[in-house]
């Protein structure tokens, strides 16, 4: 015989305003199986929980129903309290009489009657609840970090410093990402390379970090604590162990004029190359599309001059499998491309700005390379068309960002600040030059950010024009910028020598296919989705996968680094335990009834259903049945609804429990 305790909460006035809670408690107290019923102002408060615990022990309760808010709100709270009082936490259920009753009704009489019915259903349900043991799974205390920009580097270093092994995978030949391309950084104007490259070296030297550069994620299997990740190590054509990074191969390579992507195609590189001198690893890679050896079979010069014999034309892609317990995704961003718009894309281009046709219309990253001391011009601001110094320069903000008609409605967050920085860098390098900025709003929330923006106007003489540009066109060697100044209400035309477009931040091309491999969700722009915008900002809804940096949404360096350390802390929290505990709300197969049709396997979104052989004592195979891996099961119940022989049930939501609720109505 069950001794059920029912606790009806007032929720301040939230429930008691429309539901007569005392009457609910009195009525429910008369129901069969209920040994005790009471009401209390705040059940979730400390005295409320103490009341619950005390009553369980005094009344020797077998089951508990808390009639209060939604289980999404406080189920965990009360189950913990019940556990503390010595009961199995899954013998506690919540009756939602707030969201489902008091909040949506006005008539107290009717609402009270409904509340009694709701509690009655849960009383019948809880009678059928079973003791569920907590499920534990082992944890592989190694972590995978995808992406070797500042986000991935910081996360990898933090996890590695805590003593856990990290596998860092980078798609490009070198780590460093976008930050390695920047000249100076806001709001302090410290040199990006100077603060970035030491961290890159730390990664290379860290005993706890395995760096796979020029590699991509091929496949991800498993679940939290137990992932198996297949990594494709693309053929570099140079043996990383043998290469000393002397650079003779790059000097001797006869193909010299390949536009270097790292320099936004302004500088040139050979066919065997490192993207930039401070690259990590400092091992060249052969660009097989442009190498004479790969195109014609002749040449082979780099192999001849390589002292240690590291050049290997026969090298092929290799697949390596790494077991890891946690995955940090830090794949970063691409800049919006103005001139090209992918077919069928919701994102439109900006034909009116002539980017790609007028050589001196460049994007912000190209300006960074021009301003960078290690860039193709040695830090001089020069026009790509004729190498002259621009005396009038126009910056246009919000290209792609906050432009619903062009397909992107979000703010890219960093452009106001980097444009202010660009005007300063320009003013420092071209003393007699004039910078103009067309802007919609200046968004500068951040420590010392607004002061930085004001400085670009007040001390560095940038002229800010509030208004947008309708179009640009080439006139002789000038670019005519036609815009509006909405503060004054006039049309503005500026004959500029160079125009810099602050283009929007977008997720990496292919972000969606990586998300599908990882089983994480993403929004309509392909930014990865966090589990909760405010309270779980670095976790994915998929357990054991964490998000860092611009792959989750536009972000600047300080925010990215903070998020990286936060994700690293989450990984360490996971690794602090030897075994993982998880909620035992998982599907269970009743093997006697299972006919092995595996309809459940087909519908399982988590890949949790496996095949299990049943053998007799002599070892003869009797039948093959379904088996649900409790570590992987997401507890959605789809298999239960699908099974034709009713042989699989979701613990905590069995048919017996549901039917009991319906019968109580």
């Amino acid at each position: 015989m069950s001794r059920i305790g029912v606790f009806v909460c007032h929720c301040g006035e939230n429930i008691s305003r429309t539901v007569d809670v005392e009457r609910v408690a009195a009525q429910v107290g008369k129901m069969p199986g209920v040994a005790f019923a009471t009401d209390y102002k705040y059940m979730c408060s400390d005295p409320g929980q103490t009341l619950l615990k005390k009553t369980i022990q005094e009344q020797k309760l077998s089951h508990v129903v808390v009639a209060a808010c939604s289980p999404r709100m406080h189920e965990k709270t009360f189950r913990k309290a019940v556990e503390a009082a010595g009961l199995n936490p899954y013998l506690c259920e919540m009756a939602n009489i707030r969201e489902h009753c008091s909040w949506v009704h006005e008539d107290k009489q009717e609402a009270t009657a409904k509340a009694i019915e709701i509690v009655g259903m849960l009383v019948e349900r809880v009678k059928k609840n079973r003791v569920l043991p907590t499920i534990t799974v082992p944890v592989t205390k190694r972590s995978l970090v995808i992406g070797g920009g500042i986000a991935g580097i910081q996360a990898a270093l933090d996890i590695a410093d805590a003593g856990h092994h990290v596998v860092l995978v980078e798609r490009d030949p070198s780590i460093g990402g976008h930050m390695a391309q920047l000249s100076e950084t806001f709001p302090t104007l410290d040199c990006s390379q100077c603060i970035m490259t030491p961290k890159m070296v730390d990664v290379a030297n860290h005993p706890n970090i395995t760096l796979y550069s020029y590699s991509e994620i091929e496949q991800v299997d498993g679940y939290i604590g137990n992932f198996q990740v297949t990594i494709r190590r693309k053929a570099r054509s140079v043996d990383e162990d043998k290469c000393t990074g002397c650079g003779v191969c790059m000097e001797k390579c006869p193909v010299k004029k390949i536009p270097n992507k790292f320099d936004c195609n302004l500088g040139m590189r050979p066919a065997i190359y490192v993207p930039f001198p401070q690259a990590v690893p400092n091992t060249p890679v052969i660009d097989r599309d442009n190498c004479i050896k790969f195109k014609t079979g002749k040449c082979g010069l780099c192999q001849k001059v390589c002292g240690p014999g590291a050049v290997d034309y026969e090298q092929e892609d290799r697949l390596v499998v790494e077991p890891v317990g946690a995955i940090v995704v830090a794949t970063g961003f691409d800049l919006y491309t103005i001139d090209e718009k992918p077919k069928g894309s919701m994102i439109k281009g900006y034909g009116e700005f002539g980017h790609g046709k007028i050589p001196d219309v460049i994007d912000g990253m190209t300006f960074e390379r021009l301003a960078s001391a290690s860039g193709p011009t040695g830090g001089k601001i020069l026009r790509p068309s004729d190498g002259k110094e621009p005396k009038q320069i126009v910056f246009i903000q919000c290209i792609g960002s906050r432009a619903r008609e062009k397909g992107i409605s979000y703010c890219s967050k960093v452009c106001c600040m980097y444009t202010a920085k660009h005007t300063m860098l320009y003013h420092h390098k071209v003393h007699d030059g004039q910078a103009y900025v067309f802007f919609m709003d200046a968004r500068t929330p951040g420590k010392a950010y607004d002061e930085f923006w004001r400085r670009s106007i007040e001390e560095e003489e940038a002229v800010y024009i509030r208004g947008m540009v309708s179009r640009l066109y080439q006139k002789g060697d000038k670019i005519v910028v036609m815009g509006s100044d909405i503060a004054v209400g006039v049309q503005v035309e500026i004959e500029a020598d160079m125009v810099v477009l602050a283009t929007a931040i977008q997720p990496r091309t292919g972000a969606d296919s990586l998300a599908q491999k990882l089983g994480i969700s993403y929004d309509k722009y392909n930014f990865y989705s966090e589990a909760h915008a405010k309270l779980r900002p670095v976790e994915c809804a998929t357990a054991g996968i964490y998000l860092v940096g611009a792959c989750q949404g536009p972000k600047d360096i300080p925010d990215t680094v903070s998020q990286a350390s936060a994700a690293a802390a989450k990984v360490m929290t996971l690794f602090a335990k030897d075994k993982l505990e998880r909620e035992p709300i998982v599907a269970r197969v009743k093997e006697a009834g299972c006919v092995g049709c595996f309809a459940c396997k087909k519908v399982c979104a988590y890949g949790a259903v496996e095949e299990k052989e049943i053998r007799d004592r002599q070892g003869n195979l009797i039948k093959v049945v379904a088996y649900v891996n409790p570590g992987v099961c997401g507890g959605c119940g789809t298999c239960q609804a699908t099974c034709p022989s009713k042989s699989v049930e979701l613990d905590g939501y069995t048919d017996e429990q549901i039917v009991a609720m319906i019968e109580a109505l």
Binding site: G349, E352, Y473, K475
Partner: protein
């Protein structure tokens, strides 16, 4: 020869043309618009002659009337939608998609279809006003689309008798042909190539220039001529600087501003452009072997004859 029996004998003789049977399909209803019956008579004439030459059927919508461009939509939305809706409804009685020559008519007709498809309320109001139910799926096509897409560049090129080689043309789109993109859906909104494609197919050379998408000030040509002269001057100046021999348009309003006002502009700015302004149908017609008379070249204010003679196109 047997395999081409179904085609007419001329095509069967010529394997290149045999790929396309020109007499087979293309038929349009035709909405000339007011300008083509008045100041732009040569656009109407050259359109009819060119289509005849290309064996494209063209039947004028009986009893059509003004689409309301350009003032109606600034004054009374219901009136402007109803004018176009009634014309669209009458066009449905004639076989074929609706061919439109004027960019302003094109814009108004397409806008009407777009607005009425989006709003049930407006649609009901308009149906009441014109006292007829509306179908909104009839296709409205600018002549450019018909030449470049329906007929196709290859078939167009195959019809060329006298390629316009050596003629450097500044293709002028104006503002209405591609904008707004969701409504006209004609080509890439800010960097279209459809005019250049057509002209290249008939052997002309096109220049890259900055003002091909600028507004000529059409709406203001009578009320604020000062504004129009300023805008139009910038267009002509840019075409001249780019090395064009002439300008090509696909809109009678653009043509009025660029051609009729050119002398006046030259006077105001003390410059000499001397840029003939052709309609697309005139240049394509010329390439397809039509004579100056049939194309109404004599009606152009800036005399094109010296240029055409110099390029040996007459």
């Amino acid at each position: 020869m047997k395999s081409t029996n179904s085609m007419n004998s001329t095509n069967a003789m010529n394997p290149k043309k045999a790929i396309y049977n020109m007499n087979e399909t293309l038929k349009y209803s035709y909405y000339p618009g007011c300008s083509l019956h008045a100041s732009a008579g040569e656009y109407d004439l050259s359109t009819r002659e060119l289509f005849k030459q290309l064996s494209i059927g063209l039947t004028e919508v009986p009893d059509w009337f003004c689409c309301g461009a350009t003032p109606a939509h600034n004054v009374d939305e219901l009136l402007s939608l109803s004018l176009c809706a009634k014309n669209l409804e009458m066009a449905e009685q004639v076989e074929g998609d609706l061919a439109v020559a004027c960019a302003a008519c094109f814009s108004r007709l397409k806008t009407t279809q777009h607005v009425l498809a989006e709003s049930d309320v407006k649609r009901k109001q308009v149906e009441k006003a014109i006292d007829a139910p509306l179908k909104l799926d009839g296709k409205v096509k600018h002549l450019l689309e018909i030449l470049a897409r329906d007929l196709g560049l290859e078939r167009l090129a195959a019809s060329v008798k006298k390629p316009l080689s050596g003629l450097k043309v500044a293709c002028y789109y104006g503002c209405l042909l591609t904008r707004p993109p969701d409504v006209t859906n004609l080509d890439c909104v800010e960097a279209p190539t459809i005019m250049e494609d057509v002209l290249k197919a008939v052997g002309a050379e096109t220049v890259a220039w900055s003002h091909r998408m600028e507004c000529c000030g059409a709406n203001f040509t009578l009320s604020r001529p000062g504004v129009v002269i300023q805008l139009t001057n910038a267009i002509l100046e840019s075409a001249k600087e780019a090395g064009a021999d002439c300008v090509m348009v696909a809109c009678p309003l653009c043509h009025g501003n660029l051609d009729i006002r050119q002398k006046e502009i030259e006077g105001v700015y003390s410059v000499n452009y001397g840029l003939p302004v052709f309609y697309i149908t005139q240049l394509v017609g010329l390439a397809c072997g039509l004579t100056a008379d049939k194309l109404g070249l004599g009606a152009l204010i800036v005399n094109p004859m010296p240029l055409l003679k110099e390029k040996q196109l007459l």
